[in-house]
Every structure is written in C-alpha cells, then in structure tokens.
C-alpha cells in the first residue's frame, strides 16, 4: 500500500529528524577536552578531579532514573554504597584486579535494584521517595551492624588494588586513578547515550510523561522501569566501586542520604534528562564546594546554599536549560529545549 517514492524523501527525512537524538556536538568535544586538559593544566588537583569524575558518573546514573524515567528516587546512594562495599569486599577476599571489581560492584548494585525494583516501582511520587529513602537507611544500618562483612563503623580498608590492565599502577598523585575514572566514565556515557537514543529510551521518556497512556499502548511499563532502574543502579554501583578502589576505603558515610542528596543537587544545577546536565552540574557542585571550603572552612555550606538558590531562581532548567536559552536567542526559530 505504501511505497517510498522519490518525492517522499524530504518528507521521510523530516519525520526522521523529528525524533530527538542525543547528537555529538560542541558540548561533547568541550567536555572531553576539558577533562583531558585538566590532567595537564592542574596536575596537583587530580584527587579532586577524580572525585568529580566519579560523581559525574554517579549523577549520570541518577539522571537515567530521574531525568529520563521519572523515577524520583532519593535512595540512589544505596546503590553507590553497595557497589563500593562489593568492590572492596572483592578486593579484600578475591582479587585486587580493578576491572573485575567494578563489574562486581555494578553487578551487586544492579541485582539489588532488580530485587527492590518490583516493590519500589509500584509507587510514584512521594511514596517512592519515602520507600527509596527507607531502603537506603536500612542498608546504612545494616552496614553499621554487620561488622563481619562491612567492618561496621570503620568500613572496609587495607586492600590492595592491582594495576589497571596489569600495566598502570595506582599512585598517590591520582594520575592513574584520574584516567581510570575518566575511561570508565567515557564507557558509561557511551552506554547511557545508546540507551537513551534507543526505542527503550524513548519508551521510558514516554512513561515519565504519561505512564497511564503508555500502559494503554500495550507497553509493560513496570518491566521497562525495572530495566531502567537496574541499569541506573549498576552504573551507581560502578561509581561506588571506583570510589572504593581509588581511595582504598569504603565507609558507612557512602550509604547516607547526603550522597543521594548531593547528586540530586548536581542534577538540579546541571539540568535533568540531558546526560550533559550530570557533567556540568556535578563538576560545578564539587569544584564549587571544594573551593568554598578551602576559602572558608566554617561557612562554605552557606555559599553552597546561596548558589543553589540563585541557580533555581535564574536557571530553573539548570545549566543545560540556560545553554538552550542562549542558543534560542541567537536563533528564534530553534524549537529545542523544554
């Protein structure tokens, strides 16, 4: 009945382009140039840089759940902590080989999400926030109590992480750690990009917009959300594993609400559902916090609070939203953005 004739080609192209895709653009290039450049420009700040990279990864995992799937979780820190503990446990008891440690960290966190998902994702909104918060609090309590596994309040430490690929030794200047974290982040970003551009990615955005309608299209929305939740948790677990490996310590502080809260603030600063929001937001949050604390170790939280208020007031859609606005001013016909 329908044949694609030559005259249809512009129309087909129009329809094709109407599907949003996360395209490679100047932000891509800028981010990776800055990330690699930082290694050479500020070599004394590689410890902070590594933390920023890991937190970008963690915030990216949160963006998948919250920004794309509309899963408003406050318990993302649970997966970060569990991944960290799993990777540390692996290094202590099995092998110090780092890549396998990350796989274990991500795998255990993903498994936890796969188990918790069917319960958590029955709910939405406030209920979901409370349940995810409760799960991460429970895990925190468990970490304090189960001393034989988690080391209790002391956490897990004293493990040795072997060189990456057997070649690159971890050093006290975080040189290896920085590139290790950057490599893992790049790999995770590629995975995230593929997933958000895929039919599955569009489906979860549809669920975020209108779950009831999605269900009436015949889509099993619970399963889709569990899939997204698991991927997001695995990514958070990898971030936790990275922290455990590069710092040589994992403690109960990774399972506190603060971890989840910081990532959420980073996303607010950067912008939800954009992938890059995680990069810009987490970088701004952690670098700003570090500098503010260095300038005034007593009142730096106040500066952070003011930054957040200003951000919400003047860029409600985060740095990415601001970028859209500026671009639209140049080109009034631009239709992208929220």
């Amino acid at each position: 009945m329908t044949t694609v004739s030559v005259t249809n080609r512009p129309v087909v192209a129009k329809v094709r382009n109407a599907f949003a895709a996360h395209r490679i653009n100047w932000i891509d290039i800028g981010i990776w140039v800055v990330a690699i450049g930082a290694y050479f420009v500020v070599p004394t700040y590689l410890s902070l840089g590594t933390t920023v990279l890991i937190m970008i990864l963690f915030t990216l995992s949160l963006d998948l759940a919250v920004g794309y799937g509309g899963i408003d979780t406050l318990g993302q820190g649970a997966f970060y902590g569990v991944g960290g503990y799993a990777a540390a446990f692996w290094a202590l008891n099995v092998t110090g080989e780092p890549i396998s440690g990350l796989i274990v960290g991500g795998g255990v966190a993903g498994l936890l999400a796969l188990i918790a998902g069917p319960i958590v994702l029955r709910t939405r909104g406030l209920t979901l926030i409370m349940i995810t918060l409760a799960i991460s609090s429970m895990l925190g309590e468990f970490a304090v109590t189960a001393k034989s596994i988690t080391g209790g309040d002391d956490g897990l430490t004293g493990y040795h992480i072997e060189p990456v690929f057997g070649l690159f030794h971890f050093d006290i200047y975080y040189r290896t750690a920085y590139f290790y974290a950057l490599g893992v982040l790049a790999a995770a970003f590629i995975v995230a990009r593929i997933v958000v551009n895929s039919p599955f990615g569009l489906t979860v955005r549809g669920i975020r917009e209108n779950p009831v309608r999605m269900r009436l299209l015949g889509v099993r929305i619970r399963n889709r959300l569990i899939g997204l939740f698991t991927l997001s948790a695995a990514m958070a677990g990898v971030a936790g594993g990275l922290t455990a490996q590069v710092t040589g310590l994992i403690g109960v502080d990774t399972l506190t609400f603060l971890v989840s809260g910081n990532a959420l603030i980073s996303l607010i600063l950067g912008g939800f559902g954009r992938l890059y929001g995680a990069f810009l937001g987490a970088a701004l949050f952690y670098i700003f916090s570090d500098r503010a604390a260095a300038i005034n170790p007593f009142h730096w939280l106040l500066a952070l609070g003011i930054l957040l208020i200003l951000a919400v007031r003047f860029m409600p859609n985060g740095l990415m939203g601001l970028a859209d606005q500026l671009r639209r001013k140049e080109d009034p016909l631009d239709r992208s953005g929220p």
Binding site: T2, V4, N8, V11, V12, K14, V15, R16, N17, A18, F19, A20, A21, I194, V195, N197, S198, P199, F200, G201, L202, T203, R205, G206, E209, N210, V212, R213, M214, R215, L216, L217, G218, V219, R220, N223, R224, G227, R335, P338
Partner: protein
C-alpha cells in the same frame, strides 16, 4: 453499507452489568459492532457511556455479562491484552506525551505495536519501517507539517488528531473514540469530521459524542444510553425521529 449479513461481529457486548456500590451504572447492555461499523453512543451526562467504554477496554471489570471480539471472549482479558487483540480507544481528556515531538508521540505507538519498545540500542529514527509507519499516519491525519513540533505547542484540534494517530498506530479492529470533538473549536470541527470519515473502512468504530452534528454526519447507527440502560438503538433517522429520545436527551435544539 450492510452491517448484518453473515459476517462475524467485530465487537459483541451482551448482558453487561456494572454497579458502583448501590448505583447501577451499566444495566444489561447489548451492543454489536460489525467490521466497518460507524456506531455512535449518545446519552446525557452520567448515562454511563465512559463506564461502558472502560469495561470494553478492560480498565473496569463488569459484574455480569460478556464481551467478545470476533467471537473470542475477552471479558476477563487485561487492558494490554485487549490492545494487542485490536481493541483501542482514544480519550475524552487528551492524554499524550507533552514534552515529546508529534512524531515521537506517534512513534511510541508504532514501536509498541511492533513490540520493539524494549530494544535498548539503535533508534526509531533509523528504523525505516517505523519512520514509514509514522509518516503514513501523520499524512493520513494531516499532521506532517507539525511532525517536529513538541506536542505542548499544538492546539487542541491537532492534539485530538495525534490522539487518533496513536490509536490507529496500534492497528485497531475496534476503535473507541471518546468524545473526539470535545474541546475542538468549531473552526476545526469540519477538518476533524473530514478526517474521521477517511478512517480505514474495515475498522469498527464506536464514537461517544455530544456534538450531534458530528454524530449525525459520521454514524450509521446510534445507541442511546440513559441512566446506565439502553433506551433506543437504531439508524440515524430512526433515532432522530424517536419521540422518547427527543424528550429525554436531544431537547428542543435538535428539532432542526
């Protein structure tokens, strides 16, 4: 267009009953739609029209009675299952994906119908069959010019068309249109009717509508529902001529 004959009914509702507590909202309703039917369901507010549609789509469970699709009993099938079997509806209150483009809205439905909505790689924009499916639907509904716009930028009339495009993407055998003219400006009404009459002729369509001009021009048969029970069923002319219907529902203005 003969609806009787020896063809099997597309949709057959028989003896359907539903109570909300002590309130009977569906009372022993029978309704038969043959392939190609253009059937309207009318009645005053609170007559139980939407409740009936909700039972046909499986969102509400009837207390008694049966619903069959081409002879197969679907009374207890899940909503998802019914969609897969070809019972599809549109919504009185437009229910779409506001922050997605028009093409993405329709693409979601096309992807769902093809069961590729869980594929975590590739992209719908690179899937020729999906793109072609979306193009065809947008063309059918005169939406090509706004394919790239976000749904939130569209007016009510066009949103209504997107709603219908989503339904058609699911390849319905029975299509339930819940007040397609609701909220559509009188200026757009002609366009809507024009597009409705162009819908594929093999689909059985049940339309719930308050706008009598649309009902009389679109439907071949009409069922009148009052207080949860069927008052009259007949051809457009029969229903228009029926004194009971005039008294209960149509009122003076419809005496044209």
């Amino acid at each position: 267009m003969s609806e009787a004959g020896n063809t099997q009914p597309a949709l057959e509702v028989s003896g359907l009953c539903k109570n909300f507590g002590a309130l009977p909202v569906t009372q022993n309703i029978d309704l038969t739609l043959y392939p190609g039917a253009r059937h309207a369901l009318i009645g005053p507010n609170g007559a139980g029209k939407t409740t009936l549609v909700n039972q046909i789509t499986g969102v509400l469970k009837p207390d008694a009675g049966a619903i069959r699709l081409f002879g197969t009993d679907i009374t207890h099938a899940t909503p998802e299952r019914r969609v897969a079997l070809g019972v599809v509806r549109t919504f009185q209150i437009i229910s779409l994906f506001l922050r997605l483009t028009v093409a993405e809205n329709v693409g979601l439905a096309v992807a769902a119908a093809r069961s590729i909505d869980a594929k975590p790689w590739g992209s719908l924009r690179d899937d020729d069959r999906v793109v072609e499916g979306v193009r065809e639907l947008l063309e059918r509904l005169d939406l090509l010019s706004v394919a790239e716009r976000q749904l939130s930028e569209l007016g009510y009339g066009q949103r209504r068309l997107v709603e219908i495009a989503l339904a058609l993407a699911l390849k319905p055998k029975v299509l339930l249109l819940d007040e397609p003219a609701a909220g559509v400006s009188s200026r757009d009404l002609g366009m809507l009717l024009e597009i409705l009459t162009r819908l594929p002729s093999d689909i059985a369509i049940l339309v719930i509508e308050h706008d009598m001009s649309l009902v009389f021009r679109f439907a071949h048969r009409i069922s009148v529902l009052v207080g949860g029970a069927l008052l009259v069923e007949g051809s457009v002319d029969e229903v228009r001529a029926n004194q009971q219907v005039r008294d209960v529902y149509l009122g003076r203005r419809a005496h044209v």
